[in-house]
């Protein structure tokens, strides 16, 4: 597709980085998620909120095929990344994860130096070029450079929790992925470190498309352009998560359409 193509559909498709369509998703016999369709636009932050066990992390992990590592995972539906079906049989899940970066709930730096942590992805991608420049660039963007520039060659595990999480963000963005997935990135951090990461997310969306799972409603309101609320359906005997509504964040919080959303954001259940 070229930029000169006149159709509006093409323009929409170009802005659409990820198109998640989960109809039915199982882990073995466990029916985990149903009817969750979320389009993600370039350069935005999309948040998934909802109670524990509603499948928001599962939905996130479909976007870079991390669920492939779970035994018994299968789903009906599709996930498109830049108009390509990432679950197509000819697509290598390892390749998908190189284009879509991920930051996890627990800071998980490797037991090696700060520098080697950030350079890990570059080495995986057989990057030939100036590693020092790339590493510095990634650390600056993750707002960590000033704190670690004098200890690049000491262990990443010696940093504080908040610094470790920013190190993991630097590691994820060093290879310039299109999309950054964040699975409750602040849940192990104190409020000050959390604010740092939130500011960082707002800065990073200039360059990356971000999808974040959070338990923290204020966080979704502060950082997300779009918010998807997921809830657990217990009516069929199981515990199946589904998307209740997915709308611009301000609208969703000001004027929730569904009763479940209204109760959840008022804190009437968790």
């Amino acid at each position: 597709m070229t930029a000169t193509e006149p159709t509006s559909a093409a323009a929409v498709a170009e802005d659409l980085v990820i198109d998640l369509k989960l109809d039915k998703l199982w882990y073995g016999k466990f029916f985990a998620v149903r009817d969750t369709h979320v389009p993600v636009t370039r350069g935005t932050v999309t948040a998934f909120i909802g109670p524990s066990g509603c499948g928001k992390s599962t939905a996130l992990r479909c976007l870079n095929r991390m669920n492939d590592l779970v035994d018994g995972f299968r789903f009906d539906g599709s996930v498109h990344f830049q108009s390509r079906d990432i679950y197509h049989p000819t697509i290598d899940p390892v390749a998908v994860r190189r284009y879509i970066g991920m930051v996890f709930q627990q800071p998980n730096p490797f037991a090696t130096t700060v520098f080697k942590n950030v350079a890990f992805g570059l080495r995986l991608n057989r990057f030939r070029g100036d590693y020092e420049e790339r590493v510095e660039h990634a650390l600056r963007r993750a707002a960590l450079w000033d704190e670690v520039k004098d200890k690049l060659h000491s262990s990443g595990l010696a940093l504080s929790g908040g610094q470790q999480q920013r190190l993991c963000i630097a590691r994820a963005i060093a290879t310039e992925p299109e999309v950054l997935l964040m699975d409750e990135p602040c849940s192990a951090l104190d409020p000050i470190a959390t604010r740092r990461i939130e500011e960082l997310m707002t800065e990073l969306k200039e360059r990356y498309t971000i999808v974040v799972v959070t338990h923290n409603l204020q966080q979704a309101q502060r950082v997300a352009d779009m918010t998807g609320f997921m809830y657990v359906d217990t009516t069929q005997g199981g515990r199946t998560g589904y998307l209740v509504e997915h709308r611009p964040t301000a609208e969703l919080f000001a004027d929730p359409r569904a009763e479940e959303t209204r109760q959840y954001i008022r804190g009437e259940f968790s």
């Binding site: 590592l69 994860r97 190189r98 998980n108 730096p109």
Partner: protein, 319 residues
Amino acid sequence: MSTPSASLAQPPTAGERWMDLGLRRGAQALAVGVLVLLAAIVVEIGAVAAPAVRERGVDFLTSSTWDTNRDEFGILPHIWGTLYSSLLALLIGGTLGLAVAVFISQRFLPRRLELLLKNVVDLLAAIPSVVYGLWGIFFVIPAIRPFTAFLHEHLGFVPLFDERSPGPNMLASSLVLAIMVLPTMTAVSRDAIATVPRKLREAAFGLGATRWECILGVVLPTAATGVFGALVLAFGRALGETMALAMLLGNRNEFNVSLLAPGNTLAALIANTFPEAQDHERGVLMYAAIVLLSITLVVNMLGTAILVRSSRKAAGARP
């Protein structure tokens, strides 16, 4: 009767406290007992060996002659044979053991099969070493005979192959010894690999690492200290192995670098010579025993220290 709101809590009775104290003291006494036992063994053997140590000194360690009739004794060939066979076994068994540890811990197989294989490898440790010796004599030595003949014939100018025995030899001994150290290597390095947190493997996969890139780039480097500890413990196991080598190595008291030639080790020397030894030779053998004991104690203490350090590191202590 007390009111329903009264607390049901009671302080521990005197009996409970005595029991607690007694258990603690008892455990302490037993722990100290183990150390006393170790010290007693060293002192006892040291006492029997003392006259020989005083009489022969360092010459005993550097001489290569073992001649009862002339009363000349030296254990250089045995120290060499002990280290040589153990290092070769470590090279083969260590590599193989690590590969098995990776194979049965990194989800190459279904859980049940992993568990089954782990138990089979553990069972290798339950085979008596005399059985390994017999297996070596009746299977390994004949099996590698054409191969050793080929090496000697075509590469005989290399010192490693310049002398060959069709019967007992260093290569066959090391191969059997490698299989004997395999369970130690596999069990200990598998434990070290298992302490690598799942979140680190997820991080590697999340960055787009293949399984091998994850294992080689993250899992093994993180477990490196533990794997090294496993190597040292396997080395300690190989150094002290007696029966299989007494049966397979040929008991030749001669210094030799050839893989295809017979040799001897400290443990095999003691086992083979002691039953028929005269009084003066017994002292000499005790001296050899002290040397062997020192080597294995140092190696095992080193291995344990490394493992303790690595498990502390894995527990998340900051360096």
